[in-house]
Symmetry: D3
Subunit: 62 residues, 6 copies
């Protein structure tokens, strides 16, 4: 605890995920004053056909 789940559109590199995991963990540790070992992050990649806003799939967005 805390447990973080992050949904991303597909295409992020391992390097971007590495930086994001480090920085998000630091952000939580600083804000909540908890040990970094307590922070777990689950990342989920989504294809563009699996996300919609305003009823429109991202794959269809102009």
């Amino acid at each position: 605890m805390p447990t973080v789940q992050i949904e991303l559109l597909t295409g992020r590199t391992v390097e971007q995920k590495r930086e994001m995991a480090a920085k998000v963990t630091e952000a939580i540790v600083t804000s909540l004053n908890c040990p970094k070992e307590a922070v777990s992050i689950i990342i989920r990649d989504m294809p563009l056909e699996n996300y919609a806003n305003a009823g429109v799939l991202r794959i269809d967005k102009k």
Copy 2:
């Protein structure tokens, strides 16, 4: 907000997801009286080995 997450068994076409995203968004907009831009939908596809009911994986269901 609202944020919707939908788990589907794998095999749905983009066309089905497109229709579902549009119709689910409209259903929420009508029910809650919110702008459609506020509605986000995350779809997750699951292989048949990743869903179980009554302790039985869908892949094993007769």
Copy 3:
């Protein structure tokens, strides 16, 4: 299956949730051609201090 999770800002009435559950289920049944008994919906209410966009809690939004 399908399983739907919907996060809402707190304050929706039971009547709104009732209409939303019925309409979202119908939207999925129509789009995916599945039996309505297969559709489950989990609703989660969030206090305004528990949602943020662009780094700003909803409770602070002007």
Copy 4:
């Protein structure tokens, strides 16, 4: 209901998921005294680059 979501690091076999689904369902049925048909389990596999603890991706863990 109950609905269970389980995140696993990738690499589990179907046989392991089959055993897990059966045993987790039994554990819930026994503890909560509910019918097994009420228990649904969603499994999500994560690549090693999609999980972090203490700010470090599992793919980088020594």
Copy 5:
């Protein structure tokens, strides 16, 4: 890892959650051959107005 999320209808006692947490953890440890310290469980209680099946809120189910 593994991380488990369990949605329950409200009304379960602490004793039931205690038993469920112990038994579900044991079920996962046995099935996946992982250390019990690796298993985290998040429980979420839902009021009856926040769960629907077949388009009907549980609070309305006869």
Copy 6:
């Protein structure tokens, strides 16, 4: 997108959530090079009886 879900043990103040939302958003914007308006954060508070590690509820942890 990205959509972030964070589970916290209950007891965090609004001030802590405010700081966390701002810092986590900044961490994601910097790492992924996306606009801050694209980042949404859902926070969920858990009572101590609703989280377990190693099969033990947090409420029972010595």
